[in-house]
């Protein structure tokens, strides 16, 4: 309603996002001055080939990935929260990460010993194997959820998703129990989450899928608004509830699935970023919240990645821990301020 507040908040998000993007490229084990970065990005070769190589081969794909992955997870989380009318719903509650984990676990721990090349031996084949396995796993569990979504109401679906997650996680635990240490290391590295695993070449696949999903989310804005009032009101407004639910869950699944496939299971961005946006923009209307969450998610992803590569550290911190350490306080603060989550979402 308050148009100037909305415009101001969007400008802040865009400025902060741009700053975080540049900082993500500049900061790291070797700090590169922003001016040099811009020169490398726009192709003037006198910047020095080593710095150019670092920027183009490593920092740029990593930073772009963290922005797009964060945006995807936030948009997917927002859509899930609206459809399930539950502030803690995100794609992972429905078993995306456990499905992906199972895929990766089968690929690395079961098929791996049978002769499939491992990441440590040939990096590209290995990481693509993980991506494919995770995407198939995430897709399978989401397919199951989407089929179930036509048969039960949203609350039952949420519980079914949790049950599937628990079931799949125990299978993963069994696989882990019977696996060799070197295979486990690869599996755990994936499960920590990492924006740095996506190569410049893989971005060509990753980015189009993400953009497709984000366009889908923007096109679903009107239906998401109708879902705010619950499925009965949505139906009374002429919304085909089952088809819309399928479209929204499908879109959220695509976004979450592709990110999980390429970057591993990354929690909390999908919950914390939409929450922050509801606060910042003081609205629940999706024509504001969807673009806002996309920007906030990108900012969240970029910030997490910078912190995970905190200056002075050898290697990177587990990304999952970083997103949790940022996300958890946000969620706690939101709940404490609202006293009851029902005031945010209805019962």
């Amino acid at each position: 309603m308050d148009r100037s507040r909305i415009v101001f908040s969007f400008i802040c998000l865009i400025v902060l996002g741009t700053v975080a993007f540049l900082a993500g490229i500049c900061l790291g084990s070797v700090n590169i001055p922003p001016f040099e970065v811009i020169k490398s990005l726009f192709g003037s070769d006198d910047a020095g080939t080593l710095q150019s190589a670092i920027v183009l081969e490593f920092r740029l794909p990593r930073t772009v990935t963290s922005a797009f992955a964060g945006a995807s997870l936030a948009a997917a989380g927002l859509m899930m929260q609206t459809v399930f009318r539950n502030p803690l719903a995100d794609p992972f509650v429905l078993g995306v990460n456990s499905g992906a984990s199972l895929g990766v676990a089968i690929a690395l721990l079961v098929l791996g010993p049978g002769g499939i090349v491992l990441a440590s031996q040939t990096p590209l084949t290995g990481s693509l194997l993980v991506v494919v396995a995770a995407t198939i796993g995430a897709g399978a569990s989401l397919g199951l959820i989407l089929i179930l979504s036509r048969r039960v109401d949203v609350t039952s679906l949420l519980i079914l998703g949790l049950m599937i997650s628990y079931g799949v996680s125990s299978i993963v635990s069994i696989l882990i129990y019977y696996s060799m240490a070197d295979r486990l290391q690869v599996f755990f590295n994936w499960s920590f989450g990492n924006f740095g695993a996506v190569t410049l070449g893989q971005l060509g696949l990753f980015i189009p899928i993400v953009i497709l999903g984000l366009i889908g989310a923007i096109l679903l804005v009107k239906r998401l608004d109708a879902f705010l009032l619950g499925e009965r009101y949505a139906k009374s407004l002429g919304v085909g509830v089952e088809g819309s639910r399928l479209a929204i869950l499908g879109c959220a699944s695509l976004l979450a699935g592709v990110v999980t496939g390429f970057c591993g299971p990354i929690g909390f961005i999908g919950i914390a970023a939409p929450h922050l946006c509801r606060y910042l923009f003081k609205t629940s209307e999706h024509h504001v919240l969807v673009p806002a969450s996309i920007l906030m998610g990108a900012l969240f992803g970029l910030t997490s990645d910078i912190l995970a590569r905190a200056p002075g550290l050898e290697g990177t911190l587990p990304l999952n821990s970083v997103t949790a350490l940022i996300g958890v306080p946000v969620i706690i603060a939101a709940l404490l301020k609202q006293k009851s989550y029902q005031r945010l979402f209805g019962g």
């Binding site: 309603m1 009318r85 096109l219 804005v221 009107k222 608004d225 109708a226 705010l228 009032l229 619950g230 009965r232 009101y233 139906k235 009374s236 407004l237 002429g238 919304v239 085909g240 509801r278 003081k282 609205t283 629940s284 209307e285 024509h287 609202q338 029902q342 005031r343 945010l344 979402f345 209805g346 019962g347």
Partner: protein
Amino acid sequence: MSHHDTVLDSEILVIGYKESGQKVAENLSVSLKPGEFVSLLGPNGVGKSTLIRTLAGIDEPLGGRVFLKGEPLSNLTPRERARRISVVLTDSLPGAMLSVYGLIALGRHPYTGLMGGLAKDDKERIDWAIQAMGIQDLAIRRFGEISDGERQKALIARALAQEADVLLLDEPTAFVDLPRRVEIVNVLRELAYSQGLAVMASSHDLELSLSFSDKLWLMDFEGTLTTGVPEDLVLQGSVARLFQGESFGWDAESGGFRVHKTPARFARVSGGGEACYWARQALERVGFGLRDDDEVALEVTVSSDANGVPLYQAIIGDRSKTFTNLGDLLAWIGRMDGAVSGHRPKYD
């Protein structure tokens, strides 16, 4: 079946739960006319909400059909249906971040384009709905921070923004204080008259429904639906039948509820005016039967003094006393009872 002056009607409708196949009520034939305000009454659990959702096309009927101006509801696209029928449900809504204006704007959903942007006529209709419900002050507030009565008005405004021919409401006056209830029911009736809207609202408020509705739909546990003008249904005993088997009954003569008990003694009240009416009420409440012959334990004559203050002259046996209010009269009767039986006065 003739459809020509009805906007919404049903034919041997069976309502219930699709998933379990459980029927709630069957053989329901109802019709709503434009400009008509109808109240749906019945105890909890008879299926009032299910009937409303089925008529609105939200729940599918288990059998029979609903017609909108003669056309089966199932023939309409969801969007067409949403432009013709609007609802106010009891479903809980998200509070904190949804503005009242945003809520009402959602009523334009069946008219807006792909992205839901509001055109000029959408905004005009929203402003009209806000005006019609008199909630201009609420528009910028959050839905979560307004009172129950204001929420109902906002929800009705949302339904009005939908610009439909039929407005179906599930207990729009629940949780609302009495003056607000009267206000809401009155606004709904005025909208029916001025806009030619067909309005049907379920309610537990019998008195309000009797005095404001053009028609009543009475639904009982046998699943039968009796419809008619309120006064006819009262005279035919249909209203009283709704409360059969309860420990209290509804008395058509006084238009109010009575707890069933056989009076042990009787009183005769003579006089006129409202003071006389309320004296009878008071005596009935404390257990006197009323009759006009001489076989009474108590006689009360109601008159008034020069200033119009009521005077109640009471006679029990050989004792007589005059009171200026009913509280003193009842206390005196209590003391007389105590003097006879040795018990503590009862009516203080």
